[in-house]
């Protein structure tokens, strides 16, 4: 039964890799910036899943810690990229930026 679980994990890891490869296609050929951001975000989620499965495959569950870190970093990176491309800088306080946004629109 251990063997069956092992094969199950290896199979799902391979399918996760296939999904990541498809997302890389969108990342390279995305016509707009937001397609790329979307692809990077989704790719990061799949990387977290792959890390979890991989940590159980090689029998070292410590790898799950790295997956936690990666999940947090992925979210923060997405928000930071979006904020940077919206305001052209990262040094914007949200109250001021909201006022400026209402002035502009």
């Amino acid at each position: 039964m251990e063997q069956a679980l092992h094969y199950l994990n290896i199979g799902s890891a391979m399918f996760l890799l296939i999904g990541m490869a498809l997302l890389l296609g969108r990342l390279l050929s995305g016509p707009t910036l937001y397609d790329r951001v979307l692809a990077v975000n989704s790719f990061g989620t799949k990387t977290v899943l792959f890390l979890c499965v991989f940590a159980l495959i090689i029998g070292r569950p410590d790898g799950v810690d790295i997956a936690i870190l990666y999940a947090l970093m992925n979210f923060i990176a997405t928000i930071a990229i979006l904020k940077f491309f919206r305001y052209s800088s990262l040094d914007v306080s949200m109250n001021k930026s909201r006022a400026r946004h209402e002035d502009m629109s």
Partner: protein, 151 residues
């Protein structure tokens, strides 16, 4: 014997959950690659990512049993459950704010501050189109002007 049955049950539950999660992950990836428009791609990616991730992580939790590892996996599942829809919402909001146009036929998405106008015009039959078109155009032109003056 009893332990064997329990292991079978563990394997079956884990296999079902992980197969479903992998299906959703692959479906989301194919949708992101193949759909024609940013917003439809986002629609494919956002929900399948959350559900697929939750299912795969639940399958791994079933495999790991009651241990520290399953606690960490549950923590990851919780974090992804919070952050993945938030990130989706942020990306779509940024694209909408940047006035990225969806690929549509006649209809256009409302700009960020705008109240969407709904045209409730019945579709004309293709044969009688030539006759009814000028009237319909006149109706459309006549409608928006009083609204703008009222504002």
């Amino acid at each position: 014997m009893n332990g064997d049955l329990l292991h079978m049950l563990q394997f079956a539950t884990s296999a079902i959950l992980m197969a479903g999660g992998v299906f959703f992950v692959i479906a989301g990836a194919v949708g992101v690659l193949r759909l024609p428009d940013f917003y439809t791609r986002m629609h494919a990616a956002g929900m399948t990512d959350t559900l697929g991730a939750e299912m795969i992580l639940l399958g791994l939790i079933v495999q790991a049993g009651l241990s520290q590892t399953s606690l960490k996996l549950a923590l990851i599942a919780f974090l992804l459950f919070l952050t993945s829809p938030t990130a989706t919402h942020a990306v779509v909001g940024a694209a909408h704010h940047a006035k990225l146009k969806p690929k549509l036929g006649k209809y256009r998405a409302p700009a960020p501050g705008e109240v969407p106008k709904v045209k409730t015009k019945p579709k004309t039959k293709p044969k009688t189109r030539a006759k009814t078109k000028p009237k319909a155009r006149a109706k459309i032109k006549a409608k928006p002007t009083p609204r703008k003056r009222a504002k």
